[in-house]
Amino acid sequence: MGMTIAEKIIAAAAGVESVKPGDIHTVELDRLMSNDGTTHLTIDMYNKLRKPRIADVSKLVWIMDHNVPCDSVKTAASHKKMRDFAKEHGIQFYEGAGVCHQVMMENHVTSGELIFGADSHTCAYGAVGAFGTGVGCTDYLYAMVTGKSWLLVPETLKFNLTGKLNDGVYARDLILSIIGMIGANGANYMAMEFGGEGLRTLNMSDRICICNLCVEAGAKTALMEVDEITLDYLKAHGREPKHNFKSDADAAFAKVYDIDLSTIKPIVAKPHFVDSVVDAKECVGTHIDEAFLGSCNNGRIEDLRVGARIIKGKKVHPLVRFLVVPASAEVYRQALAEGIIDTFMEAGAIVMNPNCSVCWGSCQGVIGENEVLISTGTRNFKGRAGHKDSFVYLASAATVTASAIKGEIATADRI
């Protein structure tokens, strides 16, 4: 029996010939990412261990992104703990570089790796064919101390993409459509694998966006077939693939979906669930107080270009705050070089430093009671962006920017 990409990566990391769904294997991890959301908890547990040690410090990458720059005395204490520990132990450390997953993609991740991240959106790394999966701080600690962990081999859902997205339709619309189709637990414990001719029409930014959001369908990981686009991206960032796995012709998939990209339309996910998706047209006219363009999902240069194109020569609606947050310093500087930051500021947007921002309801930009946010962030759970009685709609960079201009949910074709 053949194997899927997920199965091949686990087999390689476990040092065995083959694996099958349901098997539990001890695996060697290639990389361990943690951010300021929970690293202080990991450190507390580490310090309580008898004779603690880090198995291989070169595998660790720690990134400040959730509350950068620090927003309170309490957070300053947990930041200091993380900064000091990283320095003492020689852990690779970033602060101000951007949102963790974007920093990882720009600097570390390569095809065929098995990566634990103490953040649920670690599945983003599948964009280059790496098995990234989110874990809590206890799992992280165990992996940090032993270099290993256990994994249950997941079943794989295969998504065969054909055709091409129409103009005005984005990867964000595609992945929201898929989550709506399979549901918020439709891929629970499973891997989501993407391939087919349609994949060749999606650039690396699109691929990161798609893989990043797969956890919102419950997925353990997301994986894309490695192709020329992957190899070009890795080469441009000075990296080689570790493995270049493809699923075997006789690999067993739990289910196969065929998706014609040309049938995808602009989508909005309504409060309070990511799978509560509707045609964006159905939400047109909905009042908003704030719009957010950013996050590990949609804060790359490609997303900022989309927004800038729509808002150039226009103004943010006077009753709306429009937050633009590049996902990394690299993205920010590129946007500066292209004049995109100036376009947003000319229009009246608030441009902030790279961080997780209102996507996780901390940092700056939280919304108040009964307020409504339209966002390219990752989640729209009740209270996610601030007050427990507030509302978050999720949409593409185009729909978010169009809405910021109109002062209500709008699609870009009507601006």
Partner: protein, 165 residues
Amino acid sequence: MDKFTGKIWVLGDDIDTDIIIPTEYLALKTVQDMAPYAFSPLRPELAGQLNAGDIIVAGKNFGCGSSREQAPEIIKALGIKCVIAKSFARIFFRNAINNGLLLIENEKLRDVVSEGDEITITINESIEHQGNQYPITSLPQNLVDIINAGGLVKAMQKLNNVENG
């Protein structure tokens, strides 16, 4: 704790980690400080009503969302003996096991119970509710080992102690 009886609290589908503990309370120092705010976006009074030994019965996809480990830690800190749901989100599942919080998957129970009912759980065997038995699937051995050790850190300590003599 092979067999125990508890009062149940009933929740719906997709109880996410931001409902279990909203972001604004994560900066509090300990999970004990955070515990009063558990489930507050959904039922602000709930955390104050829970008693040690109570059981939560929920729908599908319990614990979906963030990898924040405070979520299962707080449920444990509130004295909840176990959570029974139609299904659990995977990161929450791992985090709960790693912290020694017992989770049981059961498709049927949620639809037949009412809040305040009592149920009796016999570990690895069944749940009893008003005379009806609902079988429990047993966990894989490696997870049983982790729970029996009192969580993953304690399991690791054991290994560590052995390796270090």
